[in-house]
C-alpha cells in the first residue's frame, strides 16, 4: 500500500550567519512533511544555495554540523525518520558555541 504524504505548513527560523546570509529571520513553507521537502521549499524562497548550506545530498540527510531543532528538540535526539506536522517550528542554527 502506498503512503500518501499530506501537505503541511511549517515555520522555519534562521539564526546567526544563516540569518545574515539570507536576510531572513523566519519563513513559512508548505512541504510534504520530510526534512528534504521542507528544505527544498525554503530554497525556492531563499535561493538554491540554501539546500547545500543545510543538507548533505550525498548522505541524504541534514548536514552533520548544522543544529536543526523541531519544536525545540534536536533532530539528532529524535528517533526514526523526521515527519513534520502542520505548524511545526523548525529552528536552524549553524555551528555555534559560547559559555
Amino acid at each position: 500500500m502506498e503512503t500518501t504524504l499530506t501537505t503541511v505548513s511549517v515555520k522555519i527560523l534562521l539564526f546567526a550567519t544563516l540569518r545574515s546570509k539570507y536576510k531572513t529571520r523566519e519563513l513559512t513553507v508548505a512541504c510534504n512533511g520530510t526534512l528534504l521537502s521542507m528544505i527544498e521549499s525554503a530554497a525556492k524562497l531563499l535561493g538554491p544555495e540554501f539546500i547545500d548550506d543545510v543538507y548533505d545530498r550525498k548522505k541524504g540527510k541534514a548536514r552533520n554540523d548544522m543544529i536543526i531543532m523541531v519544536n525545540g528538540r534536536n533532530i539528532k535526539d529524535l528517533e526514526g525518520e523526521i515527519t513534520l506536522k502542520d505548524n511545526d517550528v523548525v529552528a536552524i542554527f549553524p555551528p555555534l558555541a559560547g559559555g
Binding site: 554540523d65 525545540g72 534536536n74 559559555g99
Partner: protein, 610 residues
C-alpha cells in the same frame, strides 16, 4: 622554572621563591598549583590549631593567589592570555574561591617576572602592588580608594607606563565588601565569580599593576612551533572558533538555549523566555556592536565592543555583555530592553561586580517582592518587579555602594532569601548563583552544578557542549542516563585548561591530546593524554578535599528545590524535573567518592599526599 612572589600585607613583606618543578609536574600551574598551595595553608592552620571552618573569608587569614601556568604568555600557545585567581574561602559561599579572567594581565604578570603572586594578611590602609621588570613594591593607594575600575586602571597605567603594562583591581563593590564583588583587569575583564573582589577589598589591596618584557621559556621550540601551528590551524578551520565566536561572541547562545527550553526566565520559574530574540546575540550584533576585542594571543576574539547610542541607558563605549551577563541581567529578571542590560553590565564592570550573581540576586529579590515578602521600608522606593529596566540598573549601583536595599542585595541571593524567609528562592548551589542553563532541560549541566567544588558553576564542566551544541558529539539533553561520565571528564579536563592557564573556548576545537602535545613541548616533559587527564582528576580531588574541610559534602551536592520538584511548565522540556540523585550515584561511583568525599584509595591512586 619561574618565580613566585609571596606578599604579606600585615607585615608589608615581599619574598621571592622558586616555582617548584615537583609541584608543577603534579599540578601543572594556574589553578592546580594554587589548589596545592591552598591545601598546604590549611594544613599549616590546622597544625597551629585553627580549623579551616573558622577561617573568615574577609579576615587576614584568607590567602589570595594570582596564578599563571605553563602556557600563559607563550606566543603561539592558542588563547593563553588568561590567569586564575583563588582564595582559601569565598565570602559568598564559604567554599573555595576560584575565578578566571582574560585580557592582558595574565601574560603581562609573567612578563613582569613572576608565575604567581600569593597575597597573605591584610593592610590597615589602602595599598597597591607594583611589579615592574621583576621588582615588586607595595605602594600607598589612598588616592585610588573610592575610584571606579576604569579610573583605577587608567591612573595606574599612566603612572607606570611602558609596554606590556596591565592592571587588575577592585572597584567600589570590592572596597565595600559586596559578596559578589569581582577582580577586574584591563577595564572590562573580570575574574568574576565567588566574590574575590571582596577578599581583595578586605585586605585593602586596591590593585596590582604589572609590567615587563621577560621572555617566557619554551623547552622544545621546534616541536612547539609544529604543534602550535597545527592547533592554530584547527582553531581557524573550526566553524565555532573560526567563525561563530568571532562573528557573534558568546551571546549567540541566547536563542539556541531558549529554543531548547533551557533559558531560565523570571528567577527560573520557566526555561522559555518569550522575549529572547530582543536580547539575543543577533540583536546585539545588529544594533550595539562597534568592534571586537581579543585577549592577548587569542585567534578567536570573542570580546564585543558595544555602545548604546542614545536614551536613558546611553553608554558611549562598553564591552560585552556576554551570554551569561545578558541572561542574568536580562532573562532571569525578565528585562527585555537590551539598552538596560548593556548599561547594567557596564555598571558591573565599572563598580566591579559579577553579573551572574548580581543578576540572579536581583531576580530573586524581584520574585520575593512580587510574592510580598519584602517590607516596603526595606526597598526604600526601589520598584523591584520583573521586567523593570530602571530598577535593574539602579539595583546594580546600589549593590556596589550598599546603598538602601543594596545592602541586602550585596549579600548574594542565598543570604537575601534566607533573610526574607524563602531560602528556596535562591537559585544557587553552595551559595553560588547558577548560570544560564536550566538542568530540567539540560540534565548533565545540573549534575555539574551540583558537584562543582566552587558551587553553581557552568565552566567547571561544560556539558552543554555535547548536550546542546553537539561538540564533540551529540547527546540528548533531557536524558539523565550516561551523563555522569561526561560530567567527570569535562570537570577533569577543565582543571587541565585552568591550570595551563588557557581559554576554555579552545576546547571546542582542541582535545586532551592536543593539550598533552602543547604542554609537553612547552615544558619538555613527556605528557600523554591520559597523564594530563590524571593531573586534572588529581586537582579536582584535592580541591574536593579542601571543601570537605569546610564542611561541604554530599548533602551540599544538590540543586534548588525548584529544579528537583517543580516540573518545567512549558517548552520542549515540559514536565521534566532534574533526576539528580540517579546521576549523582553514578557520578560518585566514577569518582571513587562516598557521600561527596574522596576515598583514601582514590587519593592514593591519584598520588595525593595529605
Amino acid at each position: 622554572m619561574g618565580k613566585i612572589l609571596r606578599v604579606n600585607l600585615t607585615a608589608k613583606s615581599l619574598n621571592v621563591e622558586k616555582t617548584s618543578e615537583d609541584v608543577a609536574r603534579k599540578y601543572l600551574g594556574g589553578k592546580g598549583y594554587a589548589v596545592y598551595l591552598i591545601y598546604r595553608y590549611l594544613r599549616e592552620y590546622e597544625k597551629a590549631g585553627t580549623s579551616p571552618k573558622d577561617i573568615d573569608a574577609l579576615g587576614p587569614k584568607n590567602v589570595l593567589i594570582f596564578a599563571t601556568g605553563p602556557g600563559t604568555g607563550v606566543p603561539g600557545f592558542p588563547s593563553s592570555g588568561r590567569y586564575h585567581v583563588m582564595a582559601l574561602r569565598s565570602p559568598l559561599t564559604g567554599s573555595i574561591g576560584s575565578a578566571n579572567s582574560g585580557g592582558e594581565f595574565g601574560p603581562f604578570l609573567k612578563f613582569s617576572g613572576f608565575d604567581m603572586i600569593v597575597v597573605e594578611g591584610a593592610s590597615e590602609t589602602p595599598v597597591y602592588l607594583a611589579i615592574v621588570d621583576g621588582e615588586a613594591e607595595l605602594r600607598d593607594a589612598s588616592s585610588l580608594w573610592g575610584k571606579n575600575v576604569f579610573d583605577t586602571c587608567r591612573m595606574l597605567m599612566d603612572k607606570v607606563g611602558g609596554k606590556n603594562t596591565s592592571v587588575a583591581c577592585i572597584g567600589p563593590a570590592g572596597e565595600n565588601l559586596a559578596y559578589m564583588a569581582c577582580i577586574m583587569n584591563d577595564d572590562h575583564r573580570a575574574a568574576g565569580r565567588t566574590g574575590l573582589g571582596a577578599v581583595m577589598g578586605s585586605k585593602k589591596l586596591k590593585a596590582i599593576v604589572v609590567s615587563g618584557d621577560e621572555k617566557v621559556p619554551v623547552a622544545e621550540r621546534e616541536r612547539f612551533s609544529e604543534v602550535s601551528k597545527r592547533c592554530l590551524d584547527a582553531m581557524k578551520n573550526n566553524p565555532v572558533t573560526g567563525v561563530g565566536l568571532p562573528t557573534y561572541g558568546t551571546a549567540i547562545l541566547i536563542n539556541i538555549i531558549n529554543t531548547a527550553g533551557g533559558l531560565p526566565y523570571k528567577n527560573w520559574q520557566t526555561g522559555v523566555n518569550p522575549d529572547a530574540e530582543k536580547i539575543s546575540g543577533e540583536t546585539l550584533a545588529e544594533t550595539y556592536l562597534i568592534s571586537r576585542r581579543s585577549c592577548w594571543g587569542c585567534p578567536i576574539g570573542c570580546g564585543r565592543v558595544t555602545s548604546v547610542k542614545s536614551g536613558p541607558f546611553q553608554v558611549l563605549a562598553s564591552e560585552g555583555p556576554e551570554y551569561e551577563s545578558i541572561w542574568a541581567l536580562g532573562s532571569s529578571t525578565a528585562v527585555k530592553d537590551l539598552d538596560a542590560v548593556v548599561k547594567a553590565n557596564h555598571y558591573c564592570d565599572e563598580f566591579g561586580l559579577d553579573p551572574i550573581s548580581m543578576g540572579s540576586t536581583i531576580a530573586a529579590a524581584m520574585e520575593l517582592n512580587e510574592k510580598g515578602c519584602i517590607p516596603t521600608e526595606d526597598l526604600q522606593g526601589l520598584d523591584l518587579r520583573f521586567g523593570n529596566s530602571a530598577a535593574l540598573v539602579e539595583a546594580v549601583w546600589r549593590t556596589a555602594y550598599k546603598a538602601g536595599f543594596g545592602k541586602y542585595l550585596a549579600l548574594g541571593s542565598k543570604k537575601l532569601c534566607e533573610i526574607y524567609g524563602h531560602p528556596e528562592l535562591s537559585m544557587s548551589v553552595k551559595g553560588l548563583e547558577m548560570p544560564a542553563y536550566d538542568p530540567r532541560a539540560i540534565k548533565g549541566i545540573g549534575l555539574n552544578y551540583a558537584t562543582a567544588n566552587r558551587g553553581g558553576c557552568h565552566v567547571t564542566g561544560y556539558t552543554v557542549s555535547p548536550e546542546v551544541l553537539g561538540i564533540p558529539e551529540k547527546i540528548d539533553p533531557i536524558k539523565a542516563e550516561g551523563k555522569a561520565k561526561w560530567v567527570k571528564i569535562f570537570q577533569d579536563f577543565t582543571c587541565v585548561v585552568n591550570s595551563t592557564v588557557n581559554c576554555l573556548f579552545t576546547t571546542f576545537a582542541l582535545g586532551a591530546k592536543d593539550y598533552a602535545e602543547l604542554l609537553s613541548a612547552v615544558t619538555g616533559w613527556k605528557l600523554t593524554e591520559d597523564e594530563i587527564l590524571k593531573i586534572g582528576e588529581r586537582i579536582y580531588n584535592l580541591e574536593r578535599v579542601i571543601i570537605n574541610k569546610y564542611g561541604f559534602d554530599g548533602k551540599d551536592d544538590t540543586l534548588p528545590k525548584r529544579l528537583l520538584e517543580e516540573p518545567m511548565p512549558e517548552g520542549p522540556a515540559k514536565g521534566q524535573v532534574t533526576e539528580l540523585e540517579e546521576m549523582k550515584g553514578e557520578y560518585y561511583k566514577l569518582r571513587g567518592w562516598v557521600n561527596g568525599v574522596p576515598t583514601k584509595e582514590k587519593l592514593a591512586e591519584l598520588e595525593i599526599e595529605l
